[in-house]
Symmetry: D2
Subunit: 342 residues, 4 copies
């Protein structure tokens, strides 16, 4: 009896031990890292030195500055004078994840994305945005009038308020739904991509879904993945049509993981309700096509769907969310409700 009790105990310990070492998501020493950024990057680039190395399973607690580097805070300031390319959309990072190799998938569980100051800034910039001639949709038209709008943030009540002196209403009061405007990894093939531009590596998708509660899956293109993020918006409409959301500083908490040997082509997202794919390119219809072909392939590869049945069901239950239509590439998110995944 004693012997068998002992052997039972040993077995239990062994089973636990085996579980631990075989689990890619756990380690004996899961760590929480508090990181205070001192410099920011403006390109996603595999050649940047990582600012910190993390193990899969680690938690990162850090902060982001706003897309203007906190330089614009008053209505009488002009972003076009204070902020110059490439020094916009400051990224915190890059962070190196041990064991992440090209062909793997990096997992970023967004635990917290929370504004940490009492205002946010939006602007109408000359020759920027979707309803004006801009760098690529080049026109001979004059720019729209430049404006700076400073929204008050009430973090307790979760509200943003803007005075509208020229309008009958007097003011707008809207709920916050903060998210990372930009999150991504170092790009493939030795490319370096401006922090203004979304693509296969993620980047400036300006997609309202990269919020606390969402898990972001990114393709790993270089050793360590080298993820970065920033550009928190306290709120933003679909498409970010004027080109600028409610830009603010934020506290960000992310749990990091790696799925070994899992290759994805474009960023994927998951929250309680949806699985999602973010496609980024111009023109808009092609961003839409990327997101939806990838979703069909995902449903077929991972959820037991026949390809054409996946296409049929997605055609009937899918929703699409327009991320940005103002950056050098646009973003569309295809969403499939998890309740139809069985």
């Amino acid at each position: 009896m004693k012997v068998s009790t002992l052997s039972l105990r040993i077995s239990v310990i062994l089973v636990f031990f085996l579980c631990f070492i075989s689990s890619p998501n756990l380690s004996f020493a899961q760590q929480t890292h508090r990181f205070q950024p001192t410099k920011y990057y403006f390109t996603y680039d595999g050649k940047h030195e990582p600012v910190l190395k993390l193990e899969p399973g680690d938690i990162l607690i850090t902060t982001t500055v706003d897309a203007f580097g906190n330089k614009v805070s008053r209505q009488d300031q002009r972003a076009s004078e204070l902020v110059h390319l490439p020094e916009v959309n400051h990224q915190t990072g890059p962070f190196y994840v041990e064991g992440a190799e090209p062909g793997d998938t990096l997992v970023l569980q967004l635990l917290n994305v929370r504004p940490n100051r009492d205002y946010a800034v939006s602007t109408h910039l000359p020759h920027f945005g979707v309803l004006t001639g801009e760098t690529y949709t080049a026109m001979l038209t004059e720019p729209l009038p430049e404006r700076t709008y400073v929204w008050k943030l009430d973090l307790t009540r979760n509200l943003a308020t803007l005075d509208l002196p020229e309008s009958k209403l007097g003011k707008a009061e809207i709920p916050l739904h903060p998210f990372l405007g930009t999150v991504g990894v170092a790009p493939a093939f030795g490319e370096a991509v401006l922090s203004l531009t979304p693509a296969e590596h993620g980047g400036n998708m300006d997609c309202v879904e990269t919020k606390a509660g969402t898990t972001v899956y990114l393709p790993v293109f270089v050793e360590g993945g080298l993820f970065m993020f920033g550009d928190v918006h306290a709120a933003q409409g679909d498409g970010e049509i004027c080109g600028v959301g409610l830009e603010t500083t934020a506290d960000v908490t992310i749990k990091v993981d790696v799925i070994k040997g899992k290759k994805i082509n474009w960023p994927r997202l998951e929250d309680e309700t949806y699985i999602m794919v973010a496609g980024s390119t111009r023109p808009l219809i092609d961003a839409f096509r990327i997101a939806h072909t990838e979703m069909v392939r995902w449903l077929a590869a991972d959820y037991g769907f026949d390809k054409w049945e996946a296409f049929q069901v997605l055609s009937q239950v899918g929703t699409a969310r327009v991320g940005n239509v103002v950056d050098p590439r646009y973003t569309v998110v295809a969403k499939f409700p998890k309740k139809y995944l069985g």
Copy 2:
């Protein structure tokens, strides 16, 4: 006293009378018309003879056939063999509204859009849809395999069910959200537009918002407006990516009105929660631009917004819904929450 009582009564009567005659929305003889269509149109065209004349304030109760003219009901049938252009997307109408003149706005209050049979059909058609080469995005590629999917409709439980024999799940069961895939008026400038194509006159927007509870505002381009509708979908995902929703027959009830002297450029929608604009063209980004410029102008013209403040607030609270990305023109709906209208 008596005199004053009498004069009071007379005053009250007079006030009511004046209200009645001054109200554009009421008439002494509001009628409910039950109309059974016997033929269907495949173009929106000011030259079509109206099938019925309505007064502003009248209610129309009628039916629609499905987009294939009810010709496809079994999985082994091929729509490509049974249905041929232009005889798809059968429209009920056109209905003439007394007093509607070019430069007015036609108001269609959708009171009921309800499937009335126990199945709906969707198909994958050769060279149709957004993820394949098609008429305008012409490719040298082979077509996708043709498929016919027959969904069972349970109108009591408001559910559609599809067997998925090739997939692990076995079947999909989804809620119905029926809507008019197509609704519009005769186009401007003597044009006649296929019932497959959305544009300024409305038409085949395939937009999930044209459902019971929504009011549709359409620009009047010809005497009487000559509105038509059809192509009811029991359900559909954003973009209708395979090109075909859950096509079914339906009962439709619409209350008709006219806003005299109110000129709009593109269809507008309103439900309990949103005001909306539907822009339709290719490429997709231009449908998006149309919907959002019109929304800015609408906010400025009718809701007391300064133009640039409207642009700023829409940039932060607007949502966008992709109607179709498969028809000869695509549709995007810009949505502004009514709670921010004051």
Copy 3:
């Protein structure tokens, strides 16, 4: 001898007779019609009454007015005040061709397209053209400044001259290369299309290749074809970027024919050097795709090419010409040199 001479004569006559009746291009009574238009159409529409009936082989000599209906002739006039939709791009016709039926190809041999007055007009119109926000690429920008430019035409020297008072050069003197900006047939499926819009039926392609010496092949969609034309440009750059060429009146001579049972999908052109296909839609890349897929199919169907070898050779020797990028649909012409046809 006599008998045999007689029989020879009879034989010769018989052979000629058989040639005549078997030739689709000849008739005993080839006629030349001189037609003076008294009204003009603004839509391509199968419901229009033809102004004249022609036999295959007939020659039509007629005239066109300019795209503004000859209403703008002075620099101080504003087209935006004098000309209103749909009354622009006045079309001469429609002409009915005996024997032309849906599924046939109409052949228009352009024998003469010659300006017949001493000036041409171009304008910069508010919200029109490719380098400004316009109806479909809708923007919140202000329009470009309106301008009217009156070019002097020297028909003897084949030159157009414009004073450039604001520029160092003082004036521009350019050669004429007159062509039909618009030429087409009644559209398919009962549609009616504005004379501003090119599509499968031809229409406002604004393509410099529809000049004297070119043969235009158009798909026949209705009995008689019902072809029309107009909008002669004395000269125009690729894309017609400001939206308006050197608009002028012209003498036009066209020889008409029909190819029975030959079905084409899009307009085809042929001159001494090239066979060409004109694809018209938005976005521009899709007009490009249409023109080039049709060209591959044409090479394979009519010129003995294997499909993939046609694709390869077209990839190396094809040239592409941008017709218009300002109309509701854009036009691209794919060109294949006839010297590689064997």
Copy 4:
């Protein structure tokens, strides 16, 4: 007399001397560099070490390998198996030009671009090209069949010949018009761009105009400019529709210069007949817009044109050439005839 002769001589010498030192294009020590590349780059990147430093006025004589790194030479080989991203479109360089600083313009006079072997290769690659679903215009369609076509080059007769065993013609024989498919500088803002992608820095424009006799002007974004080139095509049709021209190795001779303080936004070209601007982006219409807005600005800034008169004249005499419609960004070249520059 003697004195005056002497002073004349001195004057002449002085004038020559002043000419020399005042000429930005000449130096006392103009050098010709013969450079044999030993490695190739696949990104345009300011971080790459230059392989050679040149002075303004120097001449560079070097060679390029073909876009497949010379790995494909037989019809039975499959590029999809032999060549893998990023190792395509091998670039010779980068070359550092002394004195070239951000804000300057680099001048590359293409003196010689000459194939130097007796064959060229073209292929139809799976999911590549404009008439098939590809990475960004993503589709669910199957790829086109892969093909390898080996063209014989006769450099004496300046002809390329391809056997067409499947076609009636038997073979195609076409003249060579060799050009640099790719030429550019290191990009702005720390970006690194794949050698497959054209943009502001030039790169893979696949534009038939970058041939011997053309001068290429490129914006300098980093110290020394760091120009590279490669991807010589012996011939190519507009748009390079299958995605691959007549890929071959070549001898290249370039004269280098710098225009100090001259800032341009996009590549400019000049040959005997035209000044040109190359705009590169997706969608195609925006590449067209970039090229034409830049051309209007160039005409106004450097050639004494009023902006609106430049717009008018360009609208009437400009031609447009489609470079590539297959790379991650497309290219359009706007051309203005030099004879209208005064």
